[in-house]
Symmetry: C4
Subunit: 205 residues, 4 copies
């Protein structure tokens, strides 16, 4: 099987996930700026964070399947598992927003990030195990510094939110924002470093 | 007519069906774990089941049209009938969830599964009758053990839910979960058996 | 400009229109069959009718652009006008359903059908005027019996609903259902007749 | 990277944005024409305006990527920023509608138009800076009279809504409608003028 229809379906699902979150934004009952800030301000920032995360996954999915030629049934299901975990973002985002960053919703949001991250790794492994040792994806991944750092940030955030009673959820949100920034901003320095490490890895294999 | 645009349209509809079900997940009013479990727990599992079913249909649709070259008006309408029956899943899923697996909603959910299954078979027949005896799809289907077993499970589930008053709906849900598992898990053993049976069938034809 | 991206965008919009209507289906508050019939029965039939209409438009759109090679800005906007009129179906369908086929909502539904029909004709004319006398679409349309009969049915339905006080809306719905049936069922007899007429027309031109 | 998947994803997101706005249209509680006019009339016009704007952006996006061959990570993120700003239209449209064109919501709608316009310009600049001096997009843009006039109209509208207390919001809406008309109607005169200016610009470079 070729990847084109899997990509088209994933694009469709990701496009819907990234867009329907805006339906959760409550239209303010008041008609002035303070109503907007108080009733929708937090929701807007949470929406932005989740939009960026779905964007990151679309971006990575796009890059990953760029290196994949053929797929089997296992890849289809691993891809669906990733889409399922991402499809929960509108729900966890709405809960975090509605609760104004209460402890449990923030922990659940972090677990959602961890689940998506795990599903992505599983998808990667399934593709590589299907392609065998000559897999171009395997060669391209390298040490995956970004993936490891962001998983550590999600885990750290969840632990902070669980253990530290008052400011924990805010530290957690700080971790989640940092992990997102890590994936967007450094298309210069870290990318080059990662690329060099990967090339080194690829060469040493 | 070529199949590309029918596939793109079906991908779009299936992507929307599989994703908008998450909008039915009620955001818990409480902000702790027990609120999540009590208010959304059942909904999450029902969502997962329906997600898997739409995923199975996308998967099978993908495989089926892999073998189809050209289509006529009849195929377009049979495909729309399948999409219609699948588009009812967000509705039947929400009812099952909201009623906490009451008898009638579970029966209706099972009838929805049966309707989708019947629409899929009709689509298959329309394609084969259009392609004639040399149809590659006809040769590939074989005895369709999986299809028959899962239809029996849907039917058995519906009957259990109708006839057995207390535990009937739960036996039905067990049947529906089993049929879903049948389509996902056994990409090794049963697939090989099915393939051998099909090959045998194909050879004996 | 080539037509591929216009087709992909139209497929996306039509896929969403045809699917989000299911979100308007109210989940019954009761958990038995009578609750389903009374609270959702009418909605289900209205949804089916609108689903079929959007399906007809997708079908015709698909056939039309099959004959189109290149497009200009006017075609893009005429296509968007068609998509806009079709995007109102979820709204008019919900109103018809919620009012249980009251007079005004049925008239508005009929006007929506007329608007979509007019937008489709405009799109056709814009394409043909852009392509000039050698347009393959022009040659293929022929006398467009189906289009004329269905426009007459929409118009007749709207007039019945306006003029006849009690049974008018029901006659109108009968007209709308008949027009839909006209587009689905007769892929044998009428199609052949239409085709012969078209061929005759094409030859005499 | 090639542009096909970015275009498909953008098409998906734009198709969803343009369509889900119809879900915000409140179904009238009454069943007569006055209920429709009073409860949905304003909403319908606001929906039409936002539909046209998303249509304009899809149109321009389509034209822009027609001239782009390859993209990098920066283009992906600039494109996502454009999609994010456009994804806020369902929200700002619903607020403008619900408030019946109150001052603050109209200002926020205008800022949304400005944000989308700015994101579009940034996307253009990122593409051109990636492609270097031989960029076909750079040559095609020319003096971008339309872009400048419409930005001035958005800005003027926002200022009017802020400064003029009573009729300000209505002048603003007039500005926003004019800017939309500017992009649709003049596919003859202004287009030719713009084209000549662009050709002149292109030649003088």
């Amino acid at each position: 099987m070729r990847t084109s229809r899997l990509e088209a379906f994933s694009d469709g699902v990701l496009a819907i996930i990234i867009t329907i979150m805006v339906l959760e934004l409550a239209v303010p009952e008041g008609h002035d700026l303070s109503a907007l800030v108080h009733e929708t301000g937090v929701g807007l920032l949470t929406y932005l964070l989740s939009f960026v995360y779905v964007g990151i996954y679309w971006n990575n999915h796009h890059h990953m399947f760029h290196l994949v030629q053929r797929i089997n049934g296992g890849v289809l299901w691993a891809n669906l598992a990733l889409l399922f975990s991402l499809s929960l973002f509108p729900f966890t985002t709405a809960w975090v927003d509605e609760s104004r960053f209460a402890q449990t919703p923030v922990v659940v949001y972090g677990l959602n990030l961890l689940a998506a991250s795990a599903a992505y790794l599983v998808l990667q492994k399934v593709i590589i195990s299907q392609e065998g040792p000559s897999s171009p994806l395997h060669a391209a991944i390298g040490s995956d510094v970004k993936g490891k750092v962001s998983t550590a940030l999600y885990l750290g955030g969840v632990l902070c939110a669980v253990l530290i009673s008052d400011s924990g959820p805010w530290i957690a949100v700080g971790c989640f924002v940092s992990a997102a920034v890590l994936w967007i901003v450094p298309d210069r320095r870290i990318d080059r470093a990662v690329r060099e490490v990967s090339v080194g890895d690829g060469a040493s294999r």
